[in-house]
Symmetry: C3
Subunit: 330 residues, 3 copies
Amino acid sequence: MNFLSTGHFSPNELTGLIESAIRYKKGNTGRPLEGESFALVFFNPSLRTRASMQVGIYELGGNAVILEPGSTSWTLEHREGVVMAGNKTEHLKEFVGVLERYVSAIGVRTFADLKDWEAERTDPIMNAFAKFASVPVINLESAMHHPCQSMADMMTIREKCGPTKQNVLLTWAWHPKPLPMAVPNSFALAAAQFGHDIRIAHPPGYELDEDLIREAAHYAAESGGNLEITHDLEAAYKGVDVVYAKSWGGKKFYGDPDADIAHRRQFRDRWIVDEGKMSLTNDAIFMHCLPVRRNVIVTDEVIDGQRSVVIDEAENRLHIQKAILTELFK
Amino acid sequence: MNFLSTGHFSPNELTGLIESAIRYKKGNTGRPLEGESFALVFFNPSLRTRASMQVGIYELGGNAVILEPGSTSWTLEHREGVVMAGNKTEHLKEFVGVLERYVSAIGVRTFADLKDWEAERTDPIMNAFAKFASVPVINLESAMHHPCQSMADMMTIREKCGPTKQNVLLTWAWHPKPLPMAVPNSFALAAAQFGHDIRIAHPPGYELDEDLIREAAHYAAESGGNLEITHDLEAAYKGVDVVYAKSWGGKKFYGDPDADIAHRRQFRDRWIVDEGKMSLTNDAIFMHCLPVRRNVIVTDEVIDGQRSVVIDEAENRLHIQKAILTELFK
Amino acid sequence: MNFLSTGHFSPNELTGLIESAIRYKKGNTGRPLEGESFALVFFNPSLRTRASMQVGIYELGGNAVILEPGSTSWTLEHREGVVMAGNKTEHLKEFVGVLERYVSAIGVRTFADLKDWEAERTDPIMNAFAKFASVPVINLESAMHHPCQSMADMMTIREKCGPTKQNVLLTWAWHPKPLPMAVPNSFALAAAQFGHDIRIAHPPGYELDEDLIREAAHYAAESGGNLEITHDLEAAYKGVDVVYAKSWGGKKFYGDPDADIAHRRQFRDRWIVDEGKMSLTNDAIFMHCLPVRRNVIVTDEVIDGQRSVVIDEAENRLHIQKAILTELFK
């Protein structure tokens, strides 16, 4: 069983993972992964994922093997049927086929390139891993999803606000460069599955994927929650319990980062989380997946304030991933 | 005792390693390396070696320490008596002298640069490691040898074809760039030591090292096998039990990759392993050390076919290396 | 409790660490770090530190997690109050805040850039780690200090020369490029704390930091030792028991490496440790922290000679760091 998106699991299964993570957070629970190795494949930089996966696997008795295609290991081709006479040295089919002889599961981080929206929205590299692997594949952030993050987020909301339905704001923020949208996608999906009322605020030009929004709206309807989208920044903060900030690039600017940078310039200084906006909320907690640019996405005042839970979110990555690693092997 | 080339061991000793590897493949055999650390020094990228060594050392109870000279650790000078006022920061003599105070053995990967044939054919960097080290040095692919690979290959032939003498074809294949010849060298040597009848097929200009061929022919004579070299591509496949494909660069083109690329162009599309050629064999298995460029070295049809054993070869790296690691410490 | 400079500890405490290290060197002493993870953060290359920390943590039962900001993990901003709209992706405050939820201590290597003396002499990055962390921070070489090295040096002097006061020469040596002064700084401090008589020899232009020298002189006075500084190269060697060589850059050349290179040219071939100079000593041992450029800093004859203890120094890094890791957790 893979862990590619929370959408592949029922709310009950997801709640079970969080309850398992809460038990892990309370203390040591043996070495269920003793003797097992796990490949962590990083196409991109990482702090939280890299460190928390290594620590979690160690604490469960296992062994993490880190690979960086294109750096410590070979460049990878993921398309089938290609004549590999270009600059890619190894096919993902062999990469995965070999690795799964050595390891019990494969974690993969592979960001969007922000070059070709129609291709990247289908998550081609992560899905190639899943297609070729017979061992579990764990999504450590792909072009379109970051389910380990969104599960840590849901766990954090439950810890801080209780197990009930919350009013949650996912707000776009200005950043000097366009970024992938895996985090907002997965947050919207998971929040909908957990029954929260979700408001997504972004300026025109930063719409999330239509299918993704439709999927989230469907989960919201099923779980008794609600999903709305607004361009009205101040109104968005009114009465919410959770402010979740993230910057991302516009779909229509994929392949043209300068156009995105030019378009977003008008939103600088305004689309930032600050005390003024936070004061409009229902004493909301402040969340961000990190890394975050201070005084760009969020002011020092807010992120250093008492309602900031960004470090707890990051800590919960460790616990939820232990739950995922052990649940996948039952 | 070092593990630099199968040529330093008798056929009996090599067979003993394979029998040990077969036992490791059957299951857990304790933690003989508990408390021991092993340095893995990578001058070049790696997937199979990096992952299988880390997993094997962990499964045996030990600890792998990875170093990458010129990246995570300092650039290295291996020549003696040099005034080190250039761009090399540390001498291999100190690098090895220090490491062996921390670890029980040192594995080294250091590819040929394909720049200076007369120098590289003597394997200067690997031999400097062996000279300066008092702990065992394990060759994880040098300019001229890849004995962990060739031992995994011999183990795979034995598993798939039985412990008897086989007809083995080692065939050059077209690749867009010249590559090192460590793999064909070590395969030819080991196959000769194990008594197989070896045919080496390559176009003019891709002759292997004369001393190496002489050494392999000597082993073949001793073990009752045979060694022949041919330029006749189709004839080469007739009646063989094993097809082992690999591309390599021409000795005379060392230092001039463009000349090699121009010369090899005529062999493109013809020097590839495909179903037509495989049908000439005695239902041969297909082998390659990986990484392999699909539809360049071998067609999808062959590598994805039932007679392809490339993933098993790679898996056997894990088992044979466990045997090498534990035999070296007896 | 952090381990940033030996100056933060009393001579008694430092001696206790060496005695603990001597016990570790004699053999296994259990797994006091079982279940604990340790972050090793490398902004710069490393051999000894990287390998000895990994091996030491493993031998003590723990788990080392390596991070390389700007490569495997994100680029880091360490200044407070900055609007992070430039090229830094994560603030050190979050980096540390998150890591300490996963690990028991954080080791950091961050070299001087040799660009801005007034800023770098305050060790801004290492001190930011210490400021933001609530778990212990271990200095694995900062802009101004390398206390793990100087403690291994003090241990080596005690092993080779006995526990009594020695006459110690710290000599500058020519090197093609300016280097940081963390090693000479920490050596001078620690040698003074341990009561040795220290002579520092360097050409004009390579003065160490005035505050640092004042601090070392203060310790020397307290411990009954002596500190002198000389430009007289030959006189410096007379009668000393220990020759400690190191090259470093001139404070006044920070930001202008070409000026330093031009200035130092006159000292080439003369400011090198050779047999002639060693013969002026009281049969001194030769020490260097490594990596060392042979026949630039020291001749082959000296470093390969019987009085060279450079490999022992490097080995002692392993033992003293085990002492530091376990003492910090008492």
